[in-house]
């Protein structure tokens, strides 16, 4: 009994761990902003810009030297009253589209953007073929064969009724 309560507790804990979003911000340095709205924009920008070194982290989450430098750069550009677009342009100029988590639609990113749609279409095509299959098999019987089949079924039924 006590055992099962303990087990329930473990289950509850595991569930809790699953549901708690794992947010970890590695950035330790603090920045002063001349305008309060800049702090929000700083957070937004460092979230959508990707760390060029660590690749699976954004600028806000990464501890690498380059991410730290680029955070300082974002701060500096904000204080120079640059718009968000100007700041992302600055980064793309130096680090390429790679630095954007939301890359623009152009020739080099064509596959990236179109592959999901292509795969979806392929899946639909497969589904369509699978759904069509029974109809194909039914159509394989010629009218004569269908007549034969009906006769057989009818005679079978007749025999059963006679037996009863």
């Amino acid at each position: 009994m006590g055992n099962s309560i303990g087990f329930d507790l473990v289950k509850a804990l595991l569930l809790w761990l699953l549901l708690v979003p794992s947010v970890s911000h590695a950035s330790i340095e603090t920045y002063q902003f001349s305008q309060p709205e800049m702090a929000q924009r700083f957070n937004d920008l460092t979230t959508v810009l990707r760390c060029p070194k660590c690749q699976n982290q954004n600028l806000a989450d990464s501890d690498s030297i380059i991410a730290k430098d680029l955070r300082a750069q974002v701060h500096q550009l904000l204080e120079k009253n640059q718009t968000n677009d100007q700041i992302t342009d600055f980064m793309v100029q130096r680090y390429g589209d790679f630095i954007l988590y939301d890359p623009p639609f152009k020739r080099s990113t064509l596959v990236l953007w179109l592959a999901p749609i292509g795969l979806l279409l392929m899946g639909l095509l497969v589904l369509w073929f699978l759904a069509r299959k029974p109809a194909v098999q039914a159509a394989m019987l010629t009218p004569d064969e269908q007549q034969q089949l009906n006769d057989l079924l009818a005679s079978e039924q007749q025999r059963e009724t006679h037996h009863d």
């Binding site: 070194k53 030297i65 380059i66 430098d69 750069q73 790679f98 394989m140």
Partner: protein
């Protein structure tokens, strides 16, 4: 499946069905080819967005002479390598002897960018391991690094005599990675000799 009377021509559903069976195999094969192509590729190697454009503007002190200020203009005149290095970077140590070699034996013109480093330990490093650089830009805050689009040390840029970035190598310069760069370097040099 039992024999069914073939009432349709031979190119009918049966053939089509067989084609459909082959289709997944072909798709799997294509996917396999695509993935095989990716094996051994360095996920950190990115095409530099700087290739084809001018070396960005910068003003910085040199490592050995703090009072000497250099700019991008000091890199021009001859094709050269720009090598980003630091004393905390193990791969930089690994490639340093190779840089000495191509500087001394092949006469390759190399500039250094001393990246996020302490001046004293960087100077000590060059004393101990030799100095393959015409000069090293002292970049303790990574300011020049950001302008160049440096991700981490070591990185090596090949620039032509006019300061246009021709190619970039991320990672160690060695017997294996140098030849393709060397070819381009030599081509640039003959271009300069021909008075271009």
């Amino acid at each position: 499946m039992a024999h069914q009377p073939q009432s349709t021509p031979p190119t009918g559903p049966a053939t089509r069905q067989r084609l459909l069976l082959v289709l997944p195999m072909l798709l799997a094969f294509a996917l396999g080819l695509f993935l095989y192509h990716g094996i051994g590729k360095d996920p950190n190697a990115m095409q530099s967005s700087l290739i084809g454009s001018q070396v960005p503007e910068f003003t910085a002190e040199t490592l050995l002479a703090p009072i000497t200020v250099v700019t991008q203009a000091d890199l021009l005149g001859q094709p050269a390598l720009v090598n980003v290095w630091a004393t905390w970077c193990p791969t930089c140590r690994a490639e340093h002897e190779f840089l000495n070699q191509i500087s001394n034996l092949e006469g390759v013109r190399i500039f250094g960018v001393n990246y996020h480093d302490q001046r004293a330990s960087a100077q000590q490093w060059l004393l101990e391991l030799g100095n393959p650089y015409e000069f090293s830009v002292f970049d303790p805050k990574g300011v020049v690094g950001i302008e160049l689009g440096v991700v981490g040390a070591p990185e090596t840029y090949l620039i032509d005599a006019q300061g246009k970035v021709i190619d970039k190598l991320t990672g160690e310069l060695n017997e294996r990675t140098w030849p393709p760069l060397r070819e381009q370097y030599l081509a640039l040099q003959t271009g300069v000799d021909n008075g271009q």
